[in-house]
């Protein structure tokens, strides 16, 4: 069983839930930007949650199936079509040998997840099939898909077509998108005015936003508290002595454009971080289109932990609903 890539869309990559454990060596966690959507797609076609599927951003690929398969598309609202016939999202549907899976224009959200019964069976690299293109690691030959590629698919189980995920699990960003942030280690670098402005201003997703970092612009420039330049730090007030960058941390080089580090981020560097987006909201970022308005919402550690527990509960209910 194989899938032939007729068109690759914009940037379509093989992804699973990532490769945690190597970030201290500079290998990012990788994996789906919207992990809940990836998990749901896999469960709908009878796969393990951690099976590899495809992540396509803004534009869907065109894929020809060489054998019958069960497929589910989750995440963004981008209608899937089988030989031109529209299929429902968040629902398992059949694709027969010789049929072509293609996609309509993106309607909302940013990334779709395509799961195929049996999973995309590329070799495992450092514990994951996720593609890290900058490091030419994992996925299909370490790169995004290209026309002519043939993706190997594993043996699938016999899940039934028509299974759908209830509406309540299909989370979408609000307008503006609200991203909850726990202020971090370098919070005291900002003036009181900048601390207020960061949370008060409306920001917009910049077109440069990608799997490494989600950049925002449109808010007021942040001002810094005067200091003596520390030994080893750059001269800009936003520079620090090199430090580890957590997944979800927000750096603001020069105080102008916040960048949230995401799945393919670098693991360290010399920019201060205002804080970290809480884990419960990281999936949401993967569904933000360029120019989408967004606000940062200040939370406490207690609120962040409560949100994480709530998210874990939602995932448990989602699993139970598909059993």
């Amino acid at each position: 069983m194989a899938i032939k890539v007729l068109h690759h869309g914009l940037a379509t990559t093989v992804q699973d839930l990532g490769r945690p454990g190597y970030f201290h060596l500079g290998i990012p966690v990788g994996g789906a930007m919207d992990r809940l959507a990836m998990r749901a797609a896999n469960l709908l076609v009878g796969n393990d949650e951690g099976a590899a599927g495809l992540e396509a951003v803004f534009m869907g690929p065109k894929l020809e199936f060489t054998e019958d398969a069960l497929v589910a598309v989750t995440g963004a609202d981008m209608p899937a079509k089988v030989d031109g016939v529209v299929q429902p999202g968040w629902t398992a549907f059949k694709v027969k040998a010789g049929q072509v899976l293609s996609f309509d224009f993106l309607k909302s959200g940013a990334r779709i997840y395509i799961a195929v019964s049996g999973g995309i069976d590329v070799p495992v690299a450092l514990g994951s099939r996720s593609t890290y293109p900058i490091g030419a690691l994992g996925g299909y030959k370490g790169r995004p898909l290209a026309p002519g590629d043939e993706l190997p698919v594993g043996a699938g189980s016999l899940a039934s077509e028509g299974r759908a995920l209830a509406e309540e699990y299909r989370r979408k960003p609000g307008t503006p998108a609200a991203l909850r942030v726990l202020p971090g280690l370098y919070w005291d670098r900002l003036t009181d005015e900048a601390k207020d402005n960061f949370f008060a201003d409306e920001w917009k997703v910049a077109p440069e936003a990608d799997r490494m970092g989600y950049r925002f612009r449109g808010g007021r420039k942040l001002s810094f508290v005067e200091r003596k330049q520390p030994f080893g730090a750059g001269s800009d007030p936003s520079n620090i002595v090199d430090s580890c960058y957590p997944y979800g941390s927000i750096q603001v080089p020069g105080g102008t454009e916040p960048i949230i580090l995401h799945r393919d981020a670098v693991s360290g560097g010399g920019y201060f971080m205002v804080g970290t987006v809480i884990s419960a909201d990281m999936d949401l970022i993967g569904q933000l289109q360029p120019h989408t308005p967004a606000r940062f919402v200040k939370v406490t550690m207690e609120e962040a932990l409560a949100a994480r527990a709530e998210r874990a509960g939602l995932l448990e209910r989602l699993r139970a609903s598909l059993n």
């Binding site: 914009l10 940037a11 803004f58 534009m59 993106l106 309607k107 077109p207 289109q289 360029p290 120019h291």
Partner: protein, 80 residues
């Protein structure tokens, strides 16, 4: 005489020319062939060429240079 629409396949920033100091790919009123590039969309640090996708006698742009566009938004109309 009918009009067909050219839609943006991507969200991003629309550009009428390949750089600020060269003329636009197409001016309003120009004829277009299916394979002609009519503009660029900048997204994720890359520029994607947007082909006309249809043949026609005269193109009219509905989106300005450097304007944000959403996926599926009509960027130009073409008279057949």
């Amino acid at each position: 005489m009918s009009k067909l629409e050219i839609r943006s396949p991507l969200p991003g920033t629309f550009y009428r020319a390949s750089s600020p100091d060269v003329p636009p790919f197409k001016a309003d009123g120009d004829a277009v062939a299916s394979g002609d590039t009519i503009g660029l969309i900048e997204v994720m640090k890359t520029f994607q060429e947007i082909p006309a996708g249809i043949d026609g006698k005269a193109i009219t742009f509905l989106v300005d240079n450097e304007e944000p566009v959403m996926a599926g938004q009509v960027i130009a109309e073409v008279e057949q």
